[in-house]
Symmetry: C2
C-alpha cells in the first residue's frame, strides 16, 4: 500500500493488534531467555535479556501513542474502544513482564561465580516452566480472541502461587541448612518472586482478553494462592508458621 493512503480504521485496529502480538512475542522471549540464563548460568545471555528490555519499553510507548491517536481521531465506541483500550492495558502488562525478566537477568549476572549447587535452581526451573506456558497460552488467546482459553489461563494462576509458596520455604530451608547458600538463595528468592509476578501479569492479560472479547469482567476474586508473603519458616526446632 502506498504510504500516502490513509489507512482505514479497521486497518489501524489491526495494526495495533499486530504490534501487541509482536510485543508479546518479544516479552515471552525475554522471559524464556532470562530463565534459561539462570539455569545454564549463562551470563552473556542474561546480559542480552537486560539490554533487550528497553525494546519492550519502546514498544509499549509506541502502542500507547498509536492507540491514543486512534481514539482521538476515530472516537471509537463499544467493541472497537474495548479493543484499543485493551491493547493499551496489555502492552502495560507486557512492559512489566519485560521488566521482571530483566530483573532475573540482573540476578544471574550477580551470582555468576558464586557458590551455587545445582539443586538450588531446580525449583525455580519448575515454576518457570509453568509461567512460560501461561504466558504463551494467554498470548495465543489474545491473538485468537479466544475468551475460553483466557479463562483457562486465569484459572491456573493458583497452581503457580502454590508452587511459589513451597519454593519460598524450600529456599529458606537451604539457607538455614548451610549459610553458604544465603547469598545465592536470596537472589534466587527474588528471581522466583519475579517469575511468579510474571504469572500474575499473564493472569491480568487473561482478564483483559476476556473483557475485550465479551465486554464482561471476570469475577473480582482472582484465584490467588501465593501465601509466601504470609509464610515464615522458623529456625529449625521452632514450629513453622503458615
Amino acid at each position: 500500500m502506498p504510504e500516502h493512503t490513509v489507512s482505514s480504521f479497521d486497518q489501524e485496529l489491526k495494526e495495533i493488534g499486530r504490534k501487541v502480538v509482536e510485543m508479546g512475542g518479544l516479552a515471552e522471549r525475554l522471559v524464556a531467555d532470562g530463565v534459561s540464563s539462570l539455569i545454564k548460568r549463562d551470563g552473556a545471555l542474561a546480559q542480552k535479556v537486560v539490554l533487550l528490555d528497553s525494546t519492550v519499553d519502546q514498544m509499549q510507548r509506541e502502542i500507547e501513542d498509536r492507540a491514543i491517536l486512534v481514539i482521538a481521531k476515530r472516537q471509537p465506541v463499544a467493541n472497537d474502544l474495548r479493543e484499543i483500550v485493551s491493547a493499551i492495558r496489555i502492552a502495560n502488562d507486557l512492559e512489566r513482564i519485560g521488566d521482571l525478566a530483566k530483573n532475573v537477568g540482573k540476578r544471574v549476572i550477580a551470582i555468576e561465580g558464586e557458590y551455587h549447587p545445582a539443586k538450588l535452581v531446580r525449583g525455580v526451573e519448575h515454576i518457570s516452566d509453568l509461567v512460560l506456558e501461561q504466558l504463551k497460552e494467554v498470548l495465543d488467546a489474545y491473538a485468537a480472541r479466544n475468551e475460553a482459553k483466557a479463562v483457562e489461563v486465569w484459572g491456573r494462576d493458583g497452581a503457580i502461587d502454590t508452587m511459589y509458596t513451597s519454593l519460598f520455604r524450600e529456599l529458606l530451608t537451604y539457607m538455614m541448612e548451610d549459610p553458604r547458600n544465603i547469598s545465592v538463595c536470596t537472589h534466587l528468592l527474588f528471581c522466583a518472586k519475579n517469575i511468579e509476578r510474571i504469572g500474575d501479569h499473564a493472569t491480568n492479560v487473561a482478564e483483559i482478553v476476556y473483557y475485550m472479547v465479551t465486554g464482561q469482567n471476570l469475577p473480582e476474586s482472582r484465584p490467588k494462592a501465593d501465601a509466601s508473603s504470609e509464610t515464615t519458616l522458623a529456625f529449625p526446632g521452632r514450629s513453622a508458621q503458615a
Copy 2:
C-alpha cells in the same frame, strides 16, 4: 453545578487532575501506613493497608476511563493531550505504588510474632523516610505543575538506590550472623525492595510531570545506583563481590 450541565473541556481536565491528586494522597498514605505498621509491628494497621489498596486500584481504573472518554469526545492536542495522557500514566504508577505498599503490609502480617530484633528494621525505616519524602515532593510537583521540583526528585533517586544496596548487604550479614534472623530478614529484604521500587515509581512520576509541563523528555539515563541485584555477599571469610 447542576448535574445536567455539560462541563467544559477545561473543567473535565481539572477534574481528572483533581482525581490524580486525590489518588496520590491515598497512595502516599498507604506507603506511610505500610512503613509505620512495619516499624511499630502493628498487624491491624498492616491489614488496613492491604484492604485499602483496592480503592487505589479503583481510582486508577476511574481515571483511565474518564481520560479515554475525554480523548474520544474532545480530541485534544498539544498541551491538553499531554495533560490527559500524563494523568493516565501517573495513575498507573500510583496504582503500582499502592500495590507495593500492600505487599509491605502483607509481610508485616507474616512476621508478626516472629523472632525480630528491633535493629533489623532500622535500615528499612531509613530508606522509607527518603522514599516518602520523594513521593510527597513529586505529588506536590504534579499539583503545582512545577517541573523544577520534578527534576529535583528525579535527581535524588540515586541516593535511595545506594541506600538500598547497602541495606541489602546489611540484612544478608544479619542472616549469616544468626540463622534465626533468616526468615524475618528475608521478608525485610522484600519490604526494602518494595520500598525502593516505590522510589522508582516516584521517579517515573517526576519524568511524567516534566514531560507534561515542558513537552520534553528528561534524558534517557535516569540516575540509577541500585546495584543490589548485582551485589552478593560472600560467606564470611570469602571476599564480597560488588
